[in-house]
């Protein structure tokens, strides 16, 4: 019965920015400090205090807007969104209602190998609320205002998403972009990227949107997917039973994996009574300001991906891993400039450097091997001086411990340079063939696949030093004679 329905999803993503200070005052924004130690008269909402916008908040918003192809609104103002809650000391949140800083734009997602462009409605600047802790005492809620006033960007998508998988991909792309631009750490578990999901269902082929429900408290990518799946099924089940969907705000419970908690019905919907924030004059952006930010944007993930797959001829799989974050992408780009063998550069990063960093709990920043050494390492394999298996397993670990040594020098010291000398190889090949006269007979009768067996034996006997191409040639000469 579910096949009859189409799911329609729009997402509101709140991104907490990586600024040093808050949106409208100089309070520290570091995570994990003692409660109520990062506050000021402004974030505490004392009367007579004046908020002043943080330049970095505006710059982050414009950067994200430009990266997502939005139209940047030059005449910005702030508005007050009024509601009473104990973790909102002023009684209103400063946000942008009528003139958001970014309009339109969008981002490409990829689901099951199909690309889709998800349009954005808007991005606006606002401030976060404080934190309420309800479970310490049955009588009291405890209020910590360290988070009150931390700068946020709210990214609102059009209702363009049609499945939980698409929503998952979309959140992932937005997260990669805010990390790429270095404006947020995008960590959903720590709450620096939060997502509200607006979900409705309708019969396929119809165009009228169904009544939607908003799901809050989705705190991981996986939970977003599960919450959407659960909520869509809940709505379809009601419709199939002849019922109607009520417009509600519901909460996702990760432990129970359901959206059965109703936070608000339509009747209790907030009346926010927005009005212009009179305490802050308008923020007017010039064309030059926007152009400068545009010029200084890093190469974006999509452009990187294209460069890697089209020009460098890497597989989509490799390109995807290398464009996961800007640091890896730039690391690859620097290395690829020093070697012709792009595929080898990609392999070295993906299959060796990344696992080395993981094993040692390090990041690329901590990796201090010179790019010239990495390029020499690749060249050493390409020229057949060392097999790639030996290079990866034996030489790489020594090289990272001795970053000043040349890779070839290490190979020599460890006695791992491959030997293509005919006399050296002939002797081993002869010995191997003499040890397996029965296998030689079978080979001569036509079972040519045994060449692999002989190769293996020569490698064993030479302790990996026999150069494979010459060995192979020599083996064939002797066997086919």
């Amino acid at each position: 019965m579910h096949d009859k329905y189409e799911i329609v999803i729009g997402l509101e993503i709140h991104v907490q920015l990586k600024t040093k200070s808050k949106a409208f005052c100089g309070d520290d924004t570091s995570f994990g400090s003692e409660p109520n130690t990062q506050v000021s008269v402004i974030s505490l909402g004392h009367p007579g205090t004046l908020p002043v916008p943080n330049k970095q908040h505006i710059e982050s918003a414009v950067k994200l807007g430009l990266a997502l192809g939005c139209t940047i609104n030059k005449e910005n103002r702030f508005d007050r969104k009024n509601y009473f809650y104990a973790d909102l000391p002023k009684g209103y949140q400063i946000t942008q209602d009528e003139q958001p800083i970014c309009l339109g734009g969008g981002i490409v997602i990829k689901v099951e190998n199909k690309e889709k462009y998800i349009k954005l409605t808007r991005i606006h600047m606002e401030e976060d609320a404080g934190k309420s802790i309800h479970d310490v005492s049955p009588k009291y809620s405890m209020i910590d205002l360290n988070r009150a006033g931390v700068p946020l960007l709210e990214i609102v998508s059009d209702p363009d998403l049609r499945s939980a998988d698409e929503a998952y991909a979309y959140i992932g792309e937005i997260r990669r972009m805010v990390r790429w631009l270095d404006i947020s750490d995008g960590n959903m578990e720590e709450g620096s990227l939060r997502c509200d999901c607006n979900i409705s269902v309708r019969l396929k082929g119809t165009t009228k949107l169904g009544t939607r429900c908003e799901i809050k408290n989705v705190n991981s990518l996986r939970n977003a997917k599960r919450a959407i799946e659960y909520e869509a099924n809940r709505q379809i089940t009601i419709l199939e039973a002849g019922g109607e969907i009520e417009q509600q705000t519901r909460s996702y419970d990760a432990d129970k994996d359901n959206t059965d908690t109703i936070l608000r019905d339509k009747e209790d919907a907030h009346d926010y009574r927005y009005f212009p924030e009179p305490d802050m004059p308008p923020v007017v952006l010039t064309e030059t300001y926007i152009e400068t930010l545009q010029k200084n944007l890093p190469k974006l993930p999509a452009a990187f991906f294209e460069l890697l797959t089209l020009e460098h001829q890497l597989s989509e799989y490799d390109a995807k891993i290398l464009t996961d974050d800007l640091e890896t992408a730039n690391f690859y780009l620097t290395l690829s400039k020093q070697t012709q063998n792009k595929k080898a550069a990609a392999n070295l990063i993906i299959n060796r450097i990344k696992s080395y960093l993981n094993e040692n709990s390090l990041t690329l920043k901590d990796f201090n091997l010179g790019f010239d050494k990495m390029a020499a390492f690749i060249k050493m394999i390409d020229t057949g001086q060392v097999s790639s298996a030996i290079a990866y397993q034996r030489i790489f670990p020594v090289l990272v411990e001795n970053p000043s040594k040349a890779p070839v020098q290490i190979a020599e010291e460890l006695g791992l340079i491959q030997n293509a000398d005919v006399d050296f190889l002939s002797q081993i090949v002869d010995e191997v063939l003499a040890s397996y006269p029965d296998k030689v007979t079978i080979y001569k009768k036509g079972k040519k696949g045994l060449i692999g067996f002989f190769m293996g034996e020569v490698m064993k006997k030479s302790k990996g030093k026999a150069e494979p191409k010459s060995t192979n040639k020599l083996l064939r000469e002797k066997l086919d004679a």
Binding site: C25, N36, V41, V52, K55, F84, Y140, M142, V283
Partner: protein, 96 residues
């Protein structure tokens, strides 16, 4: 626009106030008077006039992203009606 009982009840809810019946009657009259006074403005033709939001011409009063002007936890909690050594205390909001 007319202020009636329903609107008064809604405003009470939004403002987290609980009024007595006497106060409600009095406030209904007061608010209607205020609206009547302000509605005098409707006599003017404002069709081609942009709303005035800011009385000053100032724009771009901005600050650099720097940490400053914080107050200590002790100072922050000083004027709170209820607190412990770390937090502001309010009636538990999750209780229904």
């Amino acid at each position: 626009m007319e202020i009636d009982k329903d609107l008064i009840l809604k405003l009470e809810k939004l403002a987290r106030l609980q009024l007595s019946e006497t106060e409600r009657t009095q406030l209904t009259g007061d608010l209607n008077n205020i609206l009547k006074m302000v509605s005098k403005l409707e006599e003017l033709d404002t069709d081609n006039i942009k709303p005035l939001i800011y009385v000053s011409d100032e724009i771009n009063r901005l600050r650099a992203d720097e940490v400053k002007n914080q107050v200590s936890k002790v100072e922050a909690l000083k004027n709170a009606p209820d607190k412990d050594e770390n937090y502001f205390k309010v009636p538990n909001m999750m209780k229904k």
